[in-house]
Symmetry: C2
Subunit: 604 residues, 2 copies
């Protein structure tokens, strides 16, 4: 999922997708491969989520899965139409954050931003957990090590993303097409056969704890809605398409809707016909796979493919979160530092934070997909609701032809997704949804506080006002010196170029050494005064700081120029410079002078 | 233990001991409190070490403990006389490292240094392990948690030393005197009674695995020699004494020898008379305590006092290792950085490294003192041997009156300590002594390599030769600018003072923002040219680096002045400056220009 991107923001991403040269290059089909993996891969856990909820009312209740899936497909249709309108209204990328900022104001956009962050983390966690379950369906030996499998794949993704990757829509095309064909193959072949080819897994005996009441149906509906996560990604990625962008993106959105709806309904019909129930250590999708393809190589290949697709879906978060963070940084809601998305070191913090949070979640729920789905869906559905409410507001303000019909569609969608989010929140509160209830407001508060700080700083720095003209004053450059050497020569040359006056300062704890230095200095006669400070305590920093503070009494601009020996090999770094770094740090903390570092490169 | 200090090096330590004003202020008695805790506290584990070795040949073999202790006391006498001579010859502090450097040459001094580092670590580990055993003797509930107790006390010591402490000889005096009185009280009272007041602990049944042969006696002797660790500290600390320093230090050394010898012999006689053998969970010293004082409050108080003294002994390492490291740094054998002992951040690394290594050792041996003693003694005895061999060499060269007799004393001492070290090394090789055999040469190699590097750097920097006179050139100061603000005004003012020419550089990814900036710049008209670099990829650093590199083509001195907003509160640090730090880092790595940082302080 990548939400709320302005066109300018998305340009780097597009370049990532297509190499340095190209922009706006996705065809509709390529768009499907690049932007809908997250949504398509949801079929691996969405139908299962329904079954897992319903089984609480006994195997008979499983019959309700089909009508619930039909309802979900209707919601899918509403969402797809709704997002087609989002695409038309926000051709620059209209994710929940951007829509909320434009049409709904401050706090709603903060809510959108916070729930998006939650989603990025949960996309990773849910996809990896479902991928591990898929792998364990094929290789029962892994069943005891789901967390380890997840963390292993996560480590791999993290490493790849830390190094930086050049994704390409074309590379993603093959597994995406293969995945869709395989799933549709399961549906077609499964329905063609009179009964399942093979039954895998062992039957779980789940105690019947509830009756099939309205609440259970609502819970199953809400759980199944997790299959809809990711349908917003195309609307966010509009700028990545080839012209006519909006048209192509809408076409892709429709294709996604059709494919996802088809897969969900097909799988659901199969589930009903074959009385599929949760079976020990084997996913629902794996059972359907065995039913259609048998338990030969095709079974293994399908499960591995599903796991791969889920890993790729998880990977989209690593691309998406930095985009959102840079957007927030530009709105002064995160440290400005995150606005520098192209700077590798900055990017790495985002990757590591995402990996760490997902790892904690995975470990906390023992890599159980079903326990993550409520948290996941709440975040996603908040986003759905916000962007659709935003559209309703938009239609009411703009009032184009047919605005009432459009507002009705978006309004219906908003109500349905809001209900789903609420059902999750209420029914799963104690089972984990409270995490979202705690985390989202905390993040909103954080964003708001950061924004307030930056606003105060802006006022203090006089942003938006014309400052006084800079004044030119005379300057004194102070150069700490250890010995008479080429390093001293280099430093004094640079200091003479920069300062109206230059003074060299040496700190010595021993009168003998000091006298020797003065002797050699006079021999050298560099044309610069040398001041020797006595420091019997062998402290270097303190006496220099004191000297600098005394010098800074006048109106002159004071600079301290610290020459630093830079070894060629990294391993020698520890042997050099530390004194300079220490001095520079203390000077910066305790004085207002300019601290200048002059690198002096060694051949070693 | 603090070895090998020149007078200049020790001055800070003396100040530590006596506050800012005083120097050379220790009387003989104060010297005992300040410098011999490490040696005196050895009675807590030395006699036990003998008993533990001998028991392998059955309880009958324990009778050998007394003659072995007599032999050790003879060695103690030799060492004390020997170190009195060291004090006379090296009144500026004559530790093994200094002696070896002066009289024995390069590699021997490296060996001395490496074994001293090992010793500092082991002093901490052994003292804490023995202290924990002492506590557990009084409080049996702690027996299962010896490692935890050790690590807890270690954490406390580390924290105290990280904060920095002002020790004082007078503060140490009370526990030292109390300790000596208590131990001598055990001897006197114990011998006065016909039989032990109380027997504590449960009898261990140790299988008889060896006969009482020469090797076992040698092993017991070597193990018992661990009681001698620390007798060198006074010789190292001569500069801390009041004048006449050498005389006072010699008197303290004699006092230490007499007290330690008396305690060792007395405890040994008691051990023989009461047939003390290792008993479950109770130290030998604790058994003797119970024998003399009973198991009432005096028993608890004594064990706690012993643990306290051992913790204070461990603490001496935290004072000693930084001194040794600064000495090595001045000889170019450790990063020069460690020469700055008065700088808190530097000091902290030494404290942390020492704590970490001791913690690893304690955990590795499960806080079992006896398993640490071989490693401990090898290091200490290498130091003993080196300083005595150095003295022999000294006498042979100087040939003062009676030099043969003196050389004989030191030679005998050297042979005895070398034998003890060898016995440990051979008999305990597989049980842990190999760690020393691996660690010491590795450290020697490290010191030698660092020395070689610094020598090469010295040649490259032209140390010892008069360099060319520094040349004055013209300068260009480049100022990266974000917006027109007070920050920009401040930065340009500083730049105008420093540079012959100043240019402001702005990086923008958006033509609209860039145009607005130029408009406001012209409105401001600060008298400085503004260059706007287009960076559609939203990279800040790369375009500036490229600009700076182009500017650096001419013969001018280039400086980049980076204004950094410094929030008043630390917690806001993350919100500021990161871009500047990133830019400064990259510029330093990839260009040779001067990088200047100008702090701009906020009121927030």
């Amino acid at each position: 999922m990548a939400f709320g991107l302005s066109r300018r923001e998305l340009q780097p991403k597009v370049r990532l997708l297509h190499g340095e040269g190209g922009r706006h290059h996705l065809t509709s089909l390529e768009g499907l491969a690049a932007l809908s993996l997250d949504a398509l891969s949801s079929v691996a856990y969405g139908p299962e989520a329904i079954v897992v909820v319903l089984i609480a009312a006994g195997t008979g209740a499983l019959n309700a899965a089909l009508p619930i899936t039909v309802a979900i497909t209707v919601l899918l249709a509403v969402l797809v139409v709704s997002y087609s309108q989002v695409i038309a209204v926000h051709p620059d990328g209209g994710g929940a954050y951007a829509v909320a900022k434009k049409d709904l104001g401050g706090w709603t956009s903060l809510l959108a931003a916070a729930s998006l962050v939650v989603d990025y983390v949960l996309t990773v966690a849910v996809s990896l957990a479902a991928g591990a379950a898929s792998l364990a369906s094929a290789f029962p030996g892994l069943r005891g090590y789901l967390v380890e499998v997840c963390l292993g794949i996560l480590a791999l993704l993290t490493l790849v993303n830390l190094r930086g990757i050049a994704e390409s829509a074309r590379v993603m095309m093959l597994p995406t097409v293969l995945f869709v064909v395989t799933i549709l193959g399961i549906v077609v072949l499964g329905l063609a056969r009179a009964h399942p080819v093979t039954v895998v897994g062992t039957a779980d005996t789940v105690p019947v704890t509830e009756s099939l009441g309205l609440l259970l149906v609502l819970k199953a509906f809400a759980a199944g809605c997790s299959a809809l996560t990711g349908v917003e990604a195309i609307a966010n990625g509009v700028p990545a398409f080839r012209e006519p962008r909006a048209k192509r993106a809408q076409r892709t959105e429709m294709m996604l809707g059709a494919l996802l709806g088809l897969m969900l309904l097909g799988l659901s019909v199969l589930i009903r016909r074959d009385h599929v129930a949760p079976r020990g250590g084997v996913t629902v999708l794996a059972q359907l796979t065995a039913g259609a393809y048998g338990d030969g190589w095709a079974y293994y290949a399908t499960n591995v493919l599903v796991a791969l697709i889920l890993a790729l879906a998880a990977n989209t978060s690593f691309g998406g979160l930095p985009v959102l963070m840079s957007l927030l940084a530009r709105d002064h809601r995160l440290p400005h530092l995150f606005g520098l998305r192209k700077e590798r070191p900055v990017y790495r913090w985002g990757v590591l934070a995402l990996a760490l949070l997902s790892a904690v979640l995975i470990a906390a729920v023992d890599a159980d997909t079903q326990r993550l789905i409520p948290l996941f869906a709440i975040g996603v559905f908040i986003g759905f609701t916000i962007s659709q409410v935003g559209l309703v507001r938009h239609w009411r303000q703009e009032r184009p032809v047919g605005w009432r019909r459009r507002a009705l569609i978006n309004g219906t969608g908003a109500i349905m997704t809001a209900v789903a989010a609420l059902v999750f929140l209420v029914s799963k509160f104690l089972e984990g949804a409270w995490v979202v209830v705690v985390a989202v407001p905390l993040m909103m508060l954080l964003f708001a506080r950061i924004e307030r700080y930056y606003r105060a700083v802006g006022i203090e720095l006089g942003l938006g006002r014309i400052p006084a003209r800079p004044a030119r004053s005379s300057s004194l450059v102070i150069v700490p010196i250890g010995e008479v050497s080429k390093l001293a020569e280099h430093a004094l040359s640079a200091a003479l170029a920069l300062g109206d006056e230059v003074v060299a300062v040496a700190v010595h704890s021993d009168p003998g050494t000091a006298a020797a230095l003065v002797r050699r200095w006079n021999q050298w006669n560099p044309g610069v005064r040398l001041e020797v400070i006595d420091s019997p305590q062998r402290s270097l920093v303190e006496p220099i700081v004191r000297y600098v503070r005394n010098a800074a009494q006048g109106g002159r601009q004071i600079a301290v120029l610290i020459p630093e020996v830079e070894p060629r090999h990294r391993r020698y770094q520890i042997l050099q410079n530390q004194r300079g770094i220490l001095l520079a740090t203390v000077l910066r903390a305790r004085t207002d002078v300019v601290v200048c570092i002059l690198p002096h490169r060694l051949s070693l």
